[in-house]
């Protein structure tokens, strides 16, 4: 699979999923299992993505101090109710700062 194909498949697939929501009869949501699964999946996926992006490099687990510190700074920013972009900037600044002084 080429990278372009992956980009187009993601784009078209995500659009189709949005359109399906507008077009499908709303009774589908009345099934409790469908609703519950749909509510839980984003939390599971996002959490797994945080964990893997923070602690993995390919197939090996790594402890990258600047990266983890950046994520820790993001947690502090979120606790302080910082807006989305500010959270990302804080994470990048802490990771970059620690690397600049020679950690990791």
């Amino acid at each position: 699979m080429t990278l372009w194909f992956a980009v187009l498949a993601t784009g078209i697939g995500c659009y189709a999923l949005k359109y399906a929501g507008l077009a499908v009869p709303p009774q589908v949501l009345d099934r409790p299992r469908v609703r519950r699964y749909a509510e839980l999946v984003p939390a599971a996926l996002l959490s797994a993505l945080v964990a893997v992006q923070a602690a993995a490099s390919g197939q090996s687990l790594v402890v990258d101090v600047p990266r983890l510190a950046g994520l820790g700074a993001a947690v502090v920013a979120l606790l302080l109710r910082a807006p989305f972009l500010a959270v990302l900037l804080v994470a990048a600044a802490v990771a970059a700062g620690l690397r600049a002084i020679g950690l990791g």
């Binding site: 993601t10 949501l29 519950r36 984003p42 939390a43 994470a91 970059a96």
Partner: protein
């Protein structure tokens, strides 16, 4: 309406981080822009870019992006009743069915305000997100090693920020999140890149069927 514009510009600017992360992962500028124009859903876009950056199987990366995109289907179900759009219009409206537009539209007191809020949020995020993606991608393409600028910390931070409201909202999401993170980490050394994340979705399925 004003809510919509404010949210739109603030969220759209994080397209800068997406554009930069996409280049760091190995996409070119055209691919980063196409992904934002077509997908227009931050979590799915970061998921694909994360998989590409980790050198994983692209099909697995696409599957993760689509699973995350599945929540927009639910938003669509809710908005269909609220916005009452039909025919050719719904082809355009569909692209705007995302977290932020749903949040703004469903927070309005009546249908007219919901429509105005949806349109303002959709338009402002779409324009800002795509311009910011381009600027972020152009900037990162000139910068050199992305780790120097802490871009490797931006992707997990973005996922965490997207997850955060769900963690605050309810306990079952917190349990699923902890379990999913544990499963993904434990499976990482044994499975190809990207698959541990899908395994975590299977955990959620188990939680739902319980």
């Amino acid at each position: 309406m004003r809510d919509g514009l404010g949210v739109g510009i603030a969220v759209g600017l994080s397209g800068l981080a997406f554009g930069a992360a996409a280049i760091a992962a190995g996409l070119n500028i055209a691919q980063a822009s196409a992904l934002s124009l077509l997908t227009f859903s931050g979590a799915s876009q970061f998921a694909l870019v994360g998989a590409v950056g980790a050198g994983g199987n692209l099909a697995v990366g696409v599957a993760g992006a689509l699973l995350l995109g599945g929540r927009n289907t639910l938003y669509g179900l809710r908005l269909a009743d609220l916005l009452r759009v039909r025919g050719a219009r719904s082809v355009v409206v569909a692209q705007g069915v995302i977290d932020e537009t749903t949040a703004v539209a469903t927070a309005q007191p009546d249908r007219e305000a919901a429509r105005a809020g949806f349109v303002a949020t959709f338009a402002s995020i779409y324009v800002t997100w795509n311009l910011a993606t381009l600027v972020g991608a152009l900037g990162a393409a000139r910068l050199g090693d992305p780790a120097t600028f802490g871009l490797d910390a931006v992707v997990p931070a973005a996922f965490l920020a997207l997850l955060w409201p769900r963690l605050r909202a309810n306990a079952s999401d917190r349990w699923i999140a902890v379990l999913a993170a544990g499963v993904a980490i434990a499976a990482t050394p044994f499975l190809p890149s990207g698959v541990p994340v899908l395994l975590a979705a299977a955990v959620a399925l188990g939680g739902a069927l319980r």
